[in-house]
């Protein structure tokens, strides 16, 4: 019995710089393949968007003042991380 397909081959277009960066990662063995990298990026974005949709449906979007406070914290932590990396 034939196995059911779980993947689909498609053609995507990336900026040259991004495409070459991913190819270099794959060639260096830091990612399994370009396809795997793109698959994980798509899964990551879907998880994020699904999660936000769940939060909005369940609790509503937080008020602007609270979001501004939280986004400032996030920005500060990302900046801190980048400076210590």
């Amino acid at each position: 019995m034939a196995r059911e397909r779980t993947t689909k081959k498609i053609t995507i277009t990336l900026p040259i710089e991004d495409a070459e960066a991913v190819e270099r990662l794959a060639e260096a063995g830091e990612v399994e393949s370009v396809s795997r990298y793109v698959t994980e990026a798509v899964a990551f974005r879907r998880a994020r968007e699904d999660g936000l949709a769940v939060l909005e449906r369940r609790f509503g979007k937080p008020p602007a003042e609270a979001l501004e406070w939280a986004r400032n914290l996030v920005a500060r932590r990302i900046d801190q991380r980048d400076r210590t990396a």
Binding site: A47, F59, A70
Partner: protein
């Protein structure tokens, strides 16, 4: 979701604030999710978080644990030893209260990852470790 982008360890004040649907705690989780950051809930904060919230808030609290943005730190035998070390080396043992064990798990989780703590009350955490990196809920 990956933990590679960093995030916050939540203490029981922050978890209880989430469960009460308080806007700043909800906004932090929302914003973390927007950028792929993570929140950690250490097991030892849960009893106090449940104790600090009403029965009708408990379903919301459990929902936090099921979000893709949330990591749960269990309290294993190995972790218990580490928490014992945090408590035994408290900077100000006289200031420790009922929530000491819960806060010790928070301190340990934050040190293990090198992350900040989101807290509603910095005093207890400072009593354990004055150098801890804290973000206080307004």
């Amino acid at each position: 979701m990956t933990a590679a982008f960093g995030g916050w360890v939540l203490d029981h004040h922050a978890v209880a604030a989430w469960a009460r649907v308080q806007p700043y705690a909800q906004a932090l989780v929302w914003s973390a999710m927007e950028v792929g950051m993570t929140v950690v809930v250490p097991a030892a904060v849960l009893p106090l978080a449940y104790a600090d919230t009403r029965e009708q808030d408990h379903d919301v609290l459990r929902e936090l644990l099921e979000l893709p943005v949330t990591l749960f730190d269990p309290l294993t035998a190995a972790e218990a030893r580490e928490l014992g070390r945090v408590l035994a080396t408290a900077a100000d043992p006289a200031a420790l209260k009922l929530d000491a064990l819960s806060l010790a798990h928070v301190v340990h989780a934050a040190h293990r990852r090198g992350w900040a703590v989101l807290t509603g009350n910095a005093t207890g955490l400072r009593a354990l470790d004055p150098s801890l990196d804290l973000d206080e809920l307004p």
